[in-house]
């Protein structure tokens, strides 16, 4: 127990970093992903093409490579961000592609009659998306979005290799200083992640039950 009392501040700060990184990245991914999904169903071909290109690029690029580009690539063109902001941008932009795809499947699940009726009563494309299609789409895709969120929380661990001291970064630090306590260290870090993901899973399940569309 000596180990825990010695290292609690480090573990607590690392946990808060992981939590903050997850929440900020998640927010960015949700906003950007919704925008991308809207672009992909828009009537403007260049917008559709751009969104498709973005989604395919980020979905097929390993997150580590995205990080490398943001952290070490951008400074080469004089665009320096702090390491934490770089981590938020990397995880957020990467996850946005997955949010967009989940949401697009939800949009496809909304009956075509809904959109047609919305247009028929004089709503613009933007209004029918905002008022009619997207609310129903979101309600359909709570479970897949929940999966994306939980995967993203774990993906934030890539930031450990890019100068952000989050939970996974404490593993080598603690392991090198306390070689005899490796199992305790692993346990502490895993519990840290579970403190975020397990309540998330319950929350997602609860929201799903509340908003599910009865068909």
């Amino acid at each position: 127990m000596q180990f825990f009392s010695d290292n609690l501040p480090l573990l607590r700060d690392a946990f808060l970093t992981t939590l903050g990184l997850s929440l900020l990245s998640g927010l960015l991914a949700l906003v950007l992903g919704t925008l991308l999904a809207a672009m992909r169903v828009s009537p403007v071909p260049p917008l559709r093409g751009l969104a498709t290109f973005y989604v395919e690029t980020f979905r097929n690029t390993p997150l580590t490579v995205v990080f490398f580009f943001i952290i070490f690539g951008l400074p080469q063109i004089d665009f320096v961000v702090s390491f934490f902001v770089g981590a938020v941008v990397s995880v957020g932009m990467y996850t946005a592609a997955f949010v967009a795809e989940a949401l697009r499947s939800g949009i496809n699940a909304v009956g075509p009659g809904q959109a047609e009726a919305a247009r028929a009563i004089g709503l613009t494309f933007g209004q029918s998306l905002r008022e009619v299609v997207l609310p129903q789409a979101f309600r359909t895709v709570v479970p897949p979005l929940g999966n994306v969120w939980i995967a993203m929380v774990k993906n934030t661990s890539i930031a450990a290799g890019f100068a952000t001291t989050e939970l996974a970064a404490t593993l080598p630090r603690l392991a090198n200083a306390n070689a005899g306590d490796i199992l305790l260290i692993l346990l502490a870090v895993v519990v840290g992640y579970m403190l975020i993901t397990v309540p998330s899973a319950y929350g997602i399940h609860h929201i799903e039950r509340r908003v599910a569309i009865l068909r």
Binding site: T57, F68, F72, G73, A160, F162, A175, G180
Partner: protein, 298 residues
């Protein structure tokens, strides 16, 4: 129009990926492996039941070392580590009558060295392994066979005039998460702002980009980084800690430890230790072999 935008984006992306390829060019030590292979003993006799007898009879040994450290243990194109650590390990294997080709090399990174020994996955670890009391509770160390020291690497010309660890106050200094040098800075120079990556090559990239002001770790590692980019980096060259590198073996195997210590002392005497240095780390740093350390038979 859309095509060109895609191409441009791809070009920028691939440039970012290529940046990761700028590791040091210090692996050009092919000549040492062939000509400087230490002598392999032929008629060896060891007390029955000892680790030496077991390894010698089997005719093979498993050794843990670094695979990414120029001058000490860097994997060559043939997937064999080259460097001072690898040479010292090969020298010890030779005294057991084991050919270099019968050595199984295993990568041991800083965080898994103790467990590799305690779980018996390797027979010994020679991997820029600093001897300290906490580690001695789990394993035993033969040696030291080299004494390194923590130093600082800065941009060529030292624009910020960083002359030592005290000058790091308020500066961004880069090291690797989980390393002894990082811990040193954290505890002894809390004024310095630490940036921690998982490998030193990223620290070098960050220094090039100006995201950090200095890189700190053992001087032998920094020497390898400077050799990879002599026009971009330089070493402050004033080591401020003592890092005795030892050879890790299973705890309580005193016969094996004594045998390795005897072998090291003999190599200090007959010049094979200095020869190994000149062919590896010495060739990179351009420094002659230092005075051998005194083996600690605790």
């Amino acid at each position: 129009m859309r095509i060109t935008r895609h191409v441009a984006a791809l070009a920028v992306l691939s440039a970012g990926v290529m940046l990761s390829g700028c590791s040091s060019d210090a692996g050009n030590q092919a000549e040492q492996a062939a000509s400087n292979a230490p002598a392999v003993e032929t008629a060896v006799e060891f007390p029955a039941g000892s680790t030496m007898a077991r390894l010698s009879d089997a005719g093979k040994i498993t050794i843990g070392t670094k695979f990414d450290q120029p001058g000490f243990g860097l994997l060559n194109p043939d997937k064999v580590p080259e460097g001072f650590d690898a040479s010292v390990a090969t020298l010890i294997a030779g005294k057991l009558g084991i050919e270099p080709s019968d050595i199984t090399w295993v990568e041991t990174v800083s965080a898994n060295r103790e467990s590799a020994i305690t779980e018996g996955r390797v027979d010994m670890v020679v991997a820029t392994y600093t001897i300290n009391d906490k580690r001695k509770q789990l394993i035993d160390f033969a040696g030291p066979y080299y004494e390194a020291g923590q130093d600082i690497m800065v941009k060529k010309g030292n624009p910020l005039a960083i002359t030592g660890p005290d000058a790091l106050a308020g500066k961004n200094v880069c090291s690797v998460e989980g390393s002894t040098p990082a811990e040193n800075i954290r505890t002894k120079y809390p004024e310095a702002k630490l940036t921690l990556f998982d490998v030193y090559s990223k620290c070098a990239d960050a220094l090039t980009n100006g995201q950090v002001d200095a890189v700190t770790t053992d001087n032998v590692i920094l020497t390898g980084l400077v050799a990879g980019n002599p026009d971009g980096f330089e070493l402050v060259g004033k080591p401020f800690t003592k890092e005795p590198y030892g050879i890790g073996i299973k705890k309580g195997d005193d016969d094996f430890r004594t045998f390795i210590n005897d072998t090291l002392e003999a190599s200090f005497e007959d010049g094979s230790w200095a020869k190994a240095w000149d062919a590896t780390a010495g060739a990179i740093s351009g420094t002659p072999a230092p005075t051998p350390p005194t083996v600690d038979r605790y």
